[in-house]
Symmetry: C2
């Protein structure tokens, strides 16, 4: 990637710095992503950087927010598809995204869990956006939206996150199998636990 020296608007320059931040995060943790490193890689002064980001924390949050927005954009399913196909294609795009952006993604998960309130909010917004797509589909999937459904869908989202992160590290099964397992898990859980179902045995 080349960094061309054209005069950019402040907004465009900020976007370019965030892109560079995401790029740098591919090979290091959020903790290692300093303003100094960004300045060096961007070829501009620390002073100028502080014009765009008040401090390292604000820079980190902006980078993680941008990475998350990208993830939501690439996983948006085609609304003309049926609910089950939307689930599968959205999930396939999510797996591809986590695989291709492993460091930024795990930085978000770790940052959210470590107690940074803003990273936690970004994380929860992203997860709500992903699971919100499921809730929009529950009627079409023949299920009712209830506290139990919400609990299970959020639990399934945690299962997906855990499974995909482990899969990128260990590759226990082919990618198509991972997708098949996780896509089948959601209807299975919701159907088996729906009121009136006999207990699983």
């Amino acid at each position: 990637m080349t960094h061309t020296r054209v005069r950019l608007s402040p907004d465009d320059r900020r976007e370019q710095l965030l892109d560079l931040g995401i790029e740098l995060l591919a090979t290091r943790s959020l903790d290692e992503l300093s303003i100094d490193l960004l300045a060096e890689e961007a070829g501009i002064s620390r002073g100028l950087l502080y014009h765009y980001f008040r401090n390292k924390q604000e820079f980190h949050r902006a980078v993680v927010r941008r990475a998350t927005d990208e993830m939501l954009a690439v996983t948006t399913p085609d609304p003309s598809l049926d609910a089950l196909t939307r689930l599968t294609t959205g999930l396939a795009a999510y797996i591809d995204y986590v695989e291709a952006n492993f460091e930024p993604f795990t930085s978000l998960v770790r940052g959210a869990a470590s107690g940074d309130r803003f990273l936690r909010e970004i994380y929860e917004d992203a997860r709500s956006a992903l699971t919100g797509r499921i809730f929009e589909s529950v009627g079409e999937l023949g299920l009712s939206d209830s506290p139990a459904t919400r609990l299970l869908v959020n639990g399934w989202a945690a299962m997906v996150e855990e499974a995909v992160i482990t899969w990128v590290q260990e590759r226990q099964v082919p990618k198509e199998e991972l997708l098949r397992l996780l896509a089948a898990a959601l209807p299975a859980v919701l159907t088996a636990t729906a009121p009136g179902q006999p207990a699983a045995s």
Copy 2:
């Protein structure tokens, strides 16, 4: 709780300090649990404390390890029960444990995610012990132990953790319903995704 002033062996004194650590963690985060606070609450000098724990980090790890051992002990199912009953009683004990020890438990989860290698190991050991009990039962449940099964059981463990933490905070459903949903989810996921099953619809 009273702190009696009898002369204890070094091992017993260390255990007592760890118990106090867990007690203190009930109302504050791991970050807020300092050696100073422990010394004050235990009524002994900082100097003496450093005889038992080399630094705050070692103290934190020992507290979290002890809380985790307790959790594994109270959730150990009676081996004379059948596999499905072991799953349900173990899960019920786990929900009760997380409910009663919410701060120590979430400290472990946060600490593991935030990148402390030792907390991560304690967390992974605990989760392996919990899911290991499931793997011991898969044959009895009529399922085969395969990479796909392991991926799903670990994913289900993440679902349980997420659902129970959210449930303690939000109480969306009665506790019996939470238990029913999570216990039913595991066989549902494993059965629906087993090789040779038709795709869920």
